[in-house]
Subunit: 648 residues, 2 copies
């Protein structure tokens, strides 16, 4: 009997099962941490998951609601009608009877969710694009029979000094009835002192907006009160475009190989995803879609273009010009977003083909343009985006790091999910290894603890830095084959170092770091380092005063090890900061403060993008940067933590 | 066997027929002049008509394509696939086999088409809203990898001094491909120095726009070259809303009695009609809908509101405030108009609930605000709209004339269509009558000449003025029963005057003017006159220097007789002008000259609307104005043409 395929997103883990197993059971077998307080008794509702409908080309199967056992009475208690429509089920109730693709929402994931796009507490000045004005109007008379809108505009001018306002068509339609419903007392919402975008009867004092960060993998939304800046609710979903390709280049390729409808499909899929996010987040906040009067969006250039249904094909061809760099204000309804019909969406500007609006978000959140210090900002995703400079000048570049830091192209690499080794310590001399596995801290007993399944980005960085610090590999990244330890062994002629013994893993074999793994990480970190070095040269900077690590990845790595490895040039470790999802923070700040939009606009125009591949010294820098930490550079701040013998 | 119903629009004539007769035959029986050069041989294609599909509540039947005999081979020669889709047939080929509503397009009508909204030759200054800019751009390089739009904007700034332009979303989508298709040489269309609305490869030097006049009965379109102001094509259609009610009040009532979907139906119907007009007019001009980059629209306040899908219900309730008075710029696509997706539509401002954007169109075409002379402008439709003043001040009012001038509420009244008596002359003493019938001038032989079927507005005015001038009726409008003529006879106790003897008509009976007809005309003209008198009082004007008659009706009446009747106060007859469809002219002028929009905006704000019904002396004025020409006013300019005996 054919095994059924089960794919879990956003972790992308693939499993096989026989008919009849529950989703929860298969997830547990695969080491995917789905919440289950009641232990699968259908009593706690924590293991809510979502069946993704459709044919998935990359997996070669169709995922269909009927590939799960029928919806049960017990699930009704936890799953609303709308959720049911969308494919939600309880993982412990739904039995797999056909191939399925299952999305595990953030809320149902256990343990550290490194894909989560968190948002930092930041001080945000408030100056929203939308103003609410309460008006008490005189009803029309024969002597003053002025038109309804004209009456509103006169009062707005007299009372609030608003001149030359226009009105968006869909708001105009509401005016006559709303005026009479409110007995001529109404609250009017005005966008950017330019346009009347809403009218409600009576006095209204709260207005809401939504900041969105469209990542290649994850889309995060922050529903904010526009007047306090407070986050009312946040929510993230998988970027549904993932079925068209996992990384940016494969999605661009998809639109080119499917020139008929590829772009349209990708566009429709992200719009549908955003509308799902909007529905979830407004429900969570007890609001409706019409309460969202303003949106801001960040994302990398390809996500940005696909969102707008602009062909991304020229982003893939030298010299990679984007279709538009400046920011864009447009009506959300023209994009098909289900918010207030007159809501504006502000899409942050992009810096270039490879440095997108997400990077602009990071910059306005971190404000290096206000710094005296020379700052390097690193945002590592599939590409590494670097920004360097100070209040004098800022430049940016994009480094082709490849996906090694995300666990790809690494023998036992995996995403930062349940069961991944995320921390590694190697003891000198004994070469003993201590490691930590994601999910371990939440388990109650030894037996329920996750065993290692693979090794994720932060674990890989740790492992290679420790291999180097303990002298197991040399500057060139080569294993010193004379070192005596049973952990260093030759497999098929190649040296590998054992991080976890077979009995410490759940995959029935040892988890190792291979010579090839080390090479791949050297390539990735070399690209980052060479980029940073070239930028320093361009700017005439000798020494960095501050390094900022943006993005979820940056928040979880051991910065000391990252520097030992040579991911970035020498810097006082006390001045290396992880700032989490700064792109999302930038979107939120632009949402509630229009001055931040002006700053973004500046940035989009002023940050000079450096195309590394055409720089003369790039190849040379890159070769030198492949070494650990670097062929020629001094690392004074490493002296205290790494022995001279190793460093020299 | 049940007779089949046939309704002809725009004349609204109703007929009955047995199954099998052709449309042409039934039309001829009813006296509707449909062109037929070949005499029904299906050889000339002139008798093209259109079957209107749908259930028509006011007629109580469904008109369906299958209610006509099947489409014949011979018709293919004259009727395109698209026209066939729309219900076009040849009148001589289509046999009636069920109830049908037939629209006779202007082009197929014979004789004087008084419903035609003609357009005058006027001098128009050119200053269109849309500018075309040809750009030769440098392709992107690694050293100048600027975004496509940003590249265009930089060049527009450098070459044409355009600063802070934005772009409409749908145009943005075309940019990357168009730039490459044009090999970086493109023509960009810019709206109001504000927004990029189109991009085309290579050099483009012509741009087109469409001015639309939405009348209660007829919708006229003028397709113009925006750079020369020339009319490229003009076209008119029946206002399809006519099935919801013939006049403004009945349409407002329809939206109120059908609160669920009445407004939506009316809105959809006019949008569909406009799209039909757009298709016809662009085909005629050899253009496509995407060539229309700008539109202007005029119409009375109710038409204006229904076009916008704004409830007109408050227009029907004192103090009749409109929802919006100011002009409106909006995207045509937000209205559902099938033109260029980024085209703007400028909807002229309205003066008040009863004086609409059509009147503003008349004013900007005639420019009384530039006149030293005291001008009275009269636009007679179902309501009479009056504007009075000079460069110092302008006021407007609306007079409830009722539909008498359109032939309604008149015993033998009819619209100005084939067979209508349009001119009447009565000889003093002998009381002989000479009259002219619409369609007569085009007939070749006596037998083919149309006989009278009724009497239309201009004929009614002539008839009553002549009855008064010859002393058959007195100042009070009463028939002098002592006058000896066989034409004055008593029918059911009431006096009537015979205009056409039975043998001169095609309806098998005499056509007369009754005492009640005279009363109804007195009411209508009294309303106009009283309005004008009150306006003169308000403005402190003793004497009018000029009278302007706008609209098709004004073009066809005998102004001398109109003054004898007392439709307007005394004025030198050499200073009374008929200006045709000045509302449409105003729309055209606003289309090609944005200064005219600024003038319209001024007008909309500055023309003071006078609500007659609340004026203290209105009732008194009205009673005096019922008399012919007026109870107390002197008419020095009539002295030469009407005997003193009659006048005093």
């Amino acid at each position: 009997m054919r095994k059924l395929q089960v794919i879990f997103h956003p972790s992308h883990r693939k499993g096989e099962t026989s008919s009849g197993g529950t989703i929860l059971k298969v997830a547990q077998e695969l080491g995917i941490g789905i919440e289950s307080v009641c232990g699968g008794q259908k009593a706690c509702g924590k293991c809510k998951i979502k069946l993704e409908k459709g044919f998935f080309e990359r997996y070669g199967f169709t995922s269909h609601p009927e590939h799960l056992s029928p919806f049960t009475k017990k699930e009704e208690k936890f799953i609303s009608e709308a959720e049911k429509e969308d494919g939600y089920r309880l993982g412990c109730a739904a039995q797999i009877i056909g191939d399925v693709l299952i999305f595990v929402p953030e809320v149902s994931l256990t343990g550290i969710q490194m894909i989560r796009k968190g948002s930092m507490e930041r001080e945000i000045d408030i100056k929203p694009a939308v103003s609410l004005c309460y008006l008490e109007l005189a009803p029309p008379t024969h002597h003053y029979p002025l038109g309804d809108l004209d009456r509103i505009k006169n009062t707005l001018f007299e009372k609030y000094d608003f001149a030359s306002l226009d009105i968006y068509y869909y708001t105009l339609l509401k005016i006559p009835d709303t005026l009479r419903k409110g007995n001529w007392n109404v609250t009017v919402a005005i966008w950017m002192r330019k346009q009347i975008i809403d009218i409600k009867p009576g006095r209204v004092e709260e207005a809401y907006g939504l900041a969105i960060d469209i990542g290649t993998t994850t889309v995060a939304g922050y529903l904010c009160n526009l007047y306090t800046g407070k986050i009312i609710a946040s929510e993230s979903i998988m970027n549904p475009q993932i079925i068209f390709g996992e990384d940016v280049m494969s999605r661009i390729t998809y639109t080119m190989t499917h020139s008929e409808d590829g772009l349209e499909k990708m566009h429709n899929s992200i719009i549908k995803g955003l509308n799902q996010l909007i529905r979830q987040i407004t429900e969570k906040a007890g609001l409706t879609f019409e309460d969202i009067l303003e949106l801001t969006i960040v994302g990398n250039t390809a996500m940005h273009h696909c969102l707008l249904k602009i062909t991304p094909q020229y982003l893939g061809v030298s010299p990679f010009p984007p279709a538009i760099q400046q920011s864009l204000n447009m009506k959300a309804r023209d994009l098909g977003l289900a918010v207030h019909p007159s809501a504006n969406v502000y899409i942050l500007p992009i810096e270039g083909g490879f440095v997108g609006a997400d990077n602009v978000g990071v910059i306005i959140a971190e404000k290096p343009y206000n710094e005296e210090m020379k700052v390097l900002m690193i945002d590592i995703g599939t590409n590494g985006e670097l920004v360097m400079g100070s209040h004098e000048k800022l430049i940016s570049c994009s480094c082709a790091t490849g996906p090694a830091f995300e666990g790809a192209h690494i023998k036992f690499g995996m995403r930062a999910a349940f069961g991944a080794i995320e921390r590694v310590k190697i003891y000198p001399k004994t070469y003993d290894v201590k490691f930590e596995v994601i999910g371990k801290e939440d388990c109650n007993s030894e037996s329920s603890c996750p065993k290692a399944k693979g090794i994720c980005g932060s674990g890989i960085i740790d492992a290679i830095a420790e291999l180097y610090r303990t002298g197991i590999i040399d500057k060139r990244g080569r294993f010193r084959d004379y070192i005596q330890t049973p952990r260093l062994k030759r497999v098929n002629g190649e040296l590998e170092f054992v991080i976890a013994w077979e009995n410490e893993t759940s995959i029935g074999r040892e988890i190792t770091i291979t010579q090839q793994d080390v090479r791949n990480v050297q390539l990735a970190k070399g690209a980052l380092y060479a980029g940073a070095k070239l930028m320093m040269k361009k700017l005439g900077i000798e020494k960095l005063d501050k390094v900022v690590l943006a993005g979820a990845f940056g928040s979880f790595i051991n910065v000391e090890n990252a520097m030992i490895l040579g991911m970035f040039p020498d810097c006082d470790l006390a001045k290396v900061y992880a700032v989490g999802n700064a792109a999302g923070d930038g979107a939120r700040m632009a949402l509630v403060n229009i001055n931040k939009r002006a700053e973004a606009e500046q940035i989009g125009r002023q940050v000079k993008y450096i195309e590394l591949s055409i720089e003369d010294d790039f190849q040379d820098e890159f070769v030198n940067a492949m070494l650990i930490p670097h062929a020629r550079d001094p690392f004074p701040h490493l002296k205290s933590i790494v022995s001279d013998e190793i460093l020299d």
